[in-house]
């Protein structure tokens, strides 16, 4: 009975750890749309060029996706 309890505690602890790890990896995932929007706003503010802002947003989005981010950060 004591052994069974120990196994149950370990299993529960492990489940919590992996759940926690999943949750933190989800939290840490980059939101590529958000990064693209930020890049657009900054570049537009600085250059006044919608064209370059659009280009920078594309580059930021693609760079973020290649870097392991997702479209909505989920």
């Amino acid at each position: 009975m004591k052994k069974l309890l120990a196994v149950a505690v370990l299993f529960t602890a492990f489940s919590f750890t992996s759940l926690d790890a999943n949750a933190s990896s989800k939290l840490k995932k980059r939101n590529c749309s958000e990064e693209a929007i930020q890049a657009y706003d900054i570049v537009y503010e600085y250059t006044g060029s919608m064209f370059y802002a659009g280009y920078s947003a594309d580059a930021a989005y693609n760079g973020c996706i290649s870097g392991g981010g997702s479209p909505d950060g989920a």
Binding site: S33, A36, I37, Q38, A39, Y40, D41, I42, V43, Y44, E45, Y46, T47, G48, S49, M50, F51, Y52, A53, G54, Y55, A57, D58, Y61
Partner: protein, 243 residues
């Protein structure tokens, strides 16, 4: 008042260069450090935005000196584009820098036909953008000498994306061609300096004038679209990311 100033400028100018039929101007670009630094300073310290802006600013600062543009013109037409230069030794992409100062691609103007075109590449596609020009220039009596020519200051105020921008042109009535960098025209003299959106200054490095008329190439490549429609297309792309 504007008409009166234009008439006065014409009368007081030396009209002795009437035999000139075409020419070529080389422009360099520099940044208005004070104006751009002000934009950087307005962003909160230690933020993603600030870091991004500082990097953008420093990259542009080190590459802008390599940007050179040519304006070829005759009485009726002009063509403005970047001079191809050898890649600089710090490996900076000059296409990107040219985009940052809003001067990538080819700008073409035909005054008689009232045609203003901008040929650009975006996301692997070529576009031929047409624009209706209405700079609504305010000509002032302020003058300065550029490359030995007396130039007058003119100001154009535009609203883009609900932001107000000012562009200043210094035009020279002695060079009586209505052309300028980046498709800016509609002034009674060649534009020898243009401060675009109060940020980037296109200045004259060299002037070549010809007594024969040179042929100006008209860009033809790309999907035809109005500038307005293209701006809307860029805006919609961003809005689709926001939703």
């Amino acid at each position: 008042m504007r008409k009166l100033i234009v008439v006065l400028i014409f009368f007081t100018s030396n009209l002795g260069i009437s035999q000139i039929l075409s020419g070529e101007i080389t422009y360099g670009v520099r940044m208005d450090e004070v104006a751009l630094q002000k934009i950087i300073n307005s962003v909160k310290d230690n933020s993603f935005k600030k870091d991004y802006l500082i990097k953008l600013h420093n990259d542009l600062k080190s590459s802008i000196k390599y940007l050179n543009y040519t304006l070829k013109f005759n009485t009726n037409e002009s063509n403005f584009n970047r001079k191809e230069t050898l890649a600089n030794d710090n490996g900076i992409d000059l296409n990107m820098s040219s985009m940052a100062v809003s001067a990538n691609g080819i700008f073409y103007s035909n005054l008689k036909e009232n045609v203003n075109l901008h040929q650009v590449e975006f996301s692997g596609e070529s576009y031929l953008l047409s624009k209706n020009i209405d700079y609504n220039w305010q000509i002032t009596t302020e003058t300065k000498i550029i490359q030995g020519y007396k130039c007058y200051k003119a100001i154009s105020k535009v609203t883009k994306n609900s932001k107000n921008f000012i562009t200043t042109a210094w035009f020279c009535p002695r060079l009586s061609f209505q052309h300028g960098p980046k498709g800016f025209n509609d002034l009674p003299g060649l534009i020898l300096e243009l401060k675009y959106l109060d940020r980037f200054i296109f200045y004259t490095k060299n002037i070549k004038l010809r007594e024969n008329e040179i042929k100006i190439n008209r860009p033809t490549k790309g999907n035809n679209m109005t500038q307005k429609k293209f701006d809307k297309f860029l805006k919609n792309r961003m809005n689709s990311m926001k939703n």
